[in-house]
């Protein structure tokens, strides 16, 4: 069982990091994240005071959008290939499969995103204190984003136009993470980050059960 889960984790990670035949990989969402950070000053003007004030929030929003990009690759291709059925026949619970996938999704985008947040922060002219809060907030919040992403991908797998619906469903579910994560910037303290982590943990705990139930219902 543990051996099987390791094998599945490695496979998921490889697919999510390097992409599959359907395209993707982690490079595109990260480039997208940087592009959002780059075009933002063009939209609001190059006033450094304004950018420094809203820059942290921009990074959070760009992170959320980047986390949404790979949603249609998270569950649907494997469902179509019959992989979930094969795992079910081998007695590997869907809950485990979804939990492993949340971990793989998080590992594939969160570290890269936190790295990319450094040049993005430089582009927006954020100072060191703000960068530290943004990075800590991302560390606390991205597991929740990953959990919501996998959960919603499982719920919308197999639906016509599922990708568009998934994007629409993810955003409201991510609101608490965004409020506390970006809110930590204006408070300037750790309480916001702690709340972000709390919300994140709840979502991570919920995702395997909700995702597995969705997979079974869609069978």
């Amino acid at each position: 069982m543990i051996r099987a889960l390791w094998a599945i984790l490695w496979r998921d990670l490889r697919l999510l990091l390097l992409g599959s035949a359907g395209g993707g990989g982690v490079v595109l969402p990260i480039l997208f994240f940087l592009a959002v950070a780059i075009i933002f000053p063009f939209a609001v003007g190059p006033d450094p005071v304004l950018l420094a004030r809203v820059g942290g929030g921009v990074i959070w929003l760009a992170a959320l959008l980047a986390a949404i990009l790979p949603l249609d690759r998270l569950i649907e291709p494997d469902r179509e290939l019959g992989l979930f059925d094969q795992w079910a026949l081998r007695g590997i619970a869907e809950e485990w499969i979804i939990a492993v996938r949340v971990l793989a999704h998080w590992l594939s985008f969160a570290p890269a995103l936190m790295l990319a947040a450094l040049p993005a922060a430089a582009l927006l002219g954020l100072d060191g204190r703000v960068i530290a809060i943004v990075e800590l907030g991302l560390l606390a919040g991205t597991p929740g984003l990953a959990a919501v992403g996998v959960m919603v991908a499982a719920i919308t797998a197999g639906l016509k136009g599922g990708a568009a619906l998934a994007g629409l469903l993810v955003i409201p579910l991510c609101v608490p993470i965004l409020i506390f994560g970006a809110g930590a910037l204006s408070i300037g303290g750790t309480s916001g980050i702690a709340l972000t982590g709390a919300v994140s943990l709840v979502l991570v705990a919920l995702a395997p059960f909700a995702g597995a139930a969705a997979l079974r219902a869609g069978r």
């Binding site: 290939l81 019959g82 026949l89 069978r219």
Partner: protein, 195 residues
């Protein structure tokens, strides 16, 4: 520890698709070494019955009892399209244990291990799925159209593999339109249970 002899029993199964009951009152009883061919027109519910027998779908009525592990081969190969065949099969081997000796050569896949699965032909994908099935060492084989896309030699090979599986005490359920020749092959005409 000895494994209990495999068995597959279904009693009074009914299957519903949408508002329509596909079949009802279907019972079957397979003991170790037995093979069953499901026959019937398209849409009569052969694939649905397979999924119910495998526990992947719930019957509308009735119950299924299985003793032994279940292996399924259907139209989906469950192999990553972008990965080379060798790596795709290694993935399953890391879950199921290694392939039986010579299985790849026997299925004519030995020279294809470097080829990405998406470049394989329909028949080659089917062979690859059969390799995965052999590696799984399941007691109960559910084969949904196992001969689709296979050439004559490969069809004979599948019959041979199923024959060996049953001789070794396994159970096989085969849904196929092609004639499947096997000693002691039972036939179930699903038209009898259609609604």
């Amino acid at each position: 520890m000895t494994m209990p002899a495999p068995a597959l029993q279904a009693s009074d199964l009914a299957c519903r698709r949408g508002d329509r009951v596909l079949f009802a009152g279907l019972s079957l009883d397979l003991q170790a070494g037995e093979a069953l061919q499901l026959a019937g027109a398209n849409g009569i519910g052969k694939s649905s019955l397979m999924r119910i027998l495998g526990g992947l779908a719930l019957p509308y009525a009735g119950s299924v009892e299985r003793t032994g592990t279940v292996g399924l081969v259907d139209e989906r190969p469950a192999l990553d399209p972008a990965a080379p065949l060798g790596r795709s099969l290694t993935f399953w081997a890391s879950i199921d244990g290694p392939l039986p000796e010579g299985a790849l050569a026997r299925l004519g896949l030995a020279r294809l291990t470097d080829v990405p699965v998406r470049y394989l032909s329909t028949g080659q994908k089917k062979r690859a799925a059969l390799a995965r099935l052999l590696g799984q060492r399941a007691a109960i084989w559910l084969l949904d159209e196992p001969l689709n896309g296979l050439d004559t030699a490969a069809c004979a090979l599948v019959e041979q593999l199923v024959g060996e599986h049953c001789e070794g005490g396994g159970i096989a359920v085969i849904a196929s339109h092609q004639t499947f020749t096997l000693p002691a092959l039972k036939r179930l005409d699903m038209a009898e249970f259609a609604r």
